[in-house]
Symmetry: C2
Subunit: 175 residues, 2 copies
């Protein structure tokens, strides 16, 4: 239904329709942002041989969704992503100020030769890519780099009609 409407709106252009759909799912996700996460599933992924284990808690609103195999598959996929991509923070807000401070100092040294007018912007650019690489929600999904983890969750919100959030993740490695 939604897809057909988006295709019409995009005048039959599939790529354009995809963008419209993605925008819609992000809008739907933010509409549901103040609902209560009363259910969810904990999932673990063990990397071949047991060198790495990743675990996530993917929360939703009701057991109706948390018991859905597709929802559970999503939790497992995100655990696999965490094992592979080793995110450090869940979101930008979760990146602690003291961690950031160290990175900022390194980048400030790196741009010491940049003219002063451009220096601040250069540091911000470096901080931005530093975070984009380390923040779970902003990382490209390991099984489909065309979508971020946030995008993946936004589509799930649209599919299941509930607020969905990664509330915790851990990654344990042997070395």
């Amino acid at each position: 239904m939604q897809c057909k409407k988006a295709l019409e709106e995009a005048g039959g252009d599939i790529e354009k329709a995809k963008v419209i759909l993605r925008k819609q799912s992000s809008a739907i996700a933010s509409k549901k942002a103040d609902r209560t996460l009363g259910a969810g599933v904990a999932a673990a992924y063990t990397h071949a041989g047991g060198s790495v284990v990743a675990a996530v808690v993917l929360a939703c609103e009701t057991d109706f969704v948390s018991k859905n195999p597709e929802f559970q598959k999503l939790a497992y996929d995100i655990a696999m992503h965490v094992a592979a991509m080793a995110p450090q923070f869940r979101s930008r807000e979760d990146a602690k100020e003291d961690n950031m401070q160290v990175a900022r100092e390194v980048f400030e040294k790196e741009v010491a030769n940049v003219p002063e007018a451009a220096r601040r912007k250069a540091v911000e650019g470096k901080m931005d890519s530093y975070l984009r690489e380390r923040v779970l929600l902003e990382q490209p999904f390991v099984k489909d780099a065309s979508i971020t983890i946030r995008g993946l969750i936004d589509s799930a919100v649209q599919k299941f009609g509930e607020k969905i959030e990664v509330v915790r993740f851990e990654r344990l490695s042997v070395k």
Copy 2:
């Protein structure tokens, strides 16, 4: 071999022989305490339905041991134990002082009516059982309450001939 010797030493008394063996394995474990943990395995246990996930890293000295299915089973069993018993600390040394302070204050209130001479001992007794319940290594193993997790690891040290340690554990639950 070891069992036969212990049985002889105990004059055929199986219970006595068990105590002797346990003492020996603990002695062997402490002899290996300064060796290097160069290998290990990460294992995860998911509780039925995905309400709880527990993960541990069980470290040893060589890949020869870490690839042993019995060693991997031990890591999985400890993960299952963590899911079931929800330990808060790995060892007494890992129990943070601020956490302890809160418990100590509660216990001090509880024994306010105990005569002053006995009060300190009463608090220490309460602290001891508080920790014994929450420290992974001191908890009775969920699959065999006759042995603690430390005892379980000590026997593995004896069996595999390497230093073995739980270096990290995490427990993630939905609620």
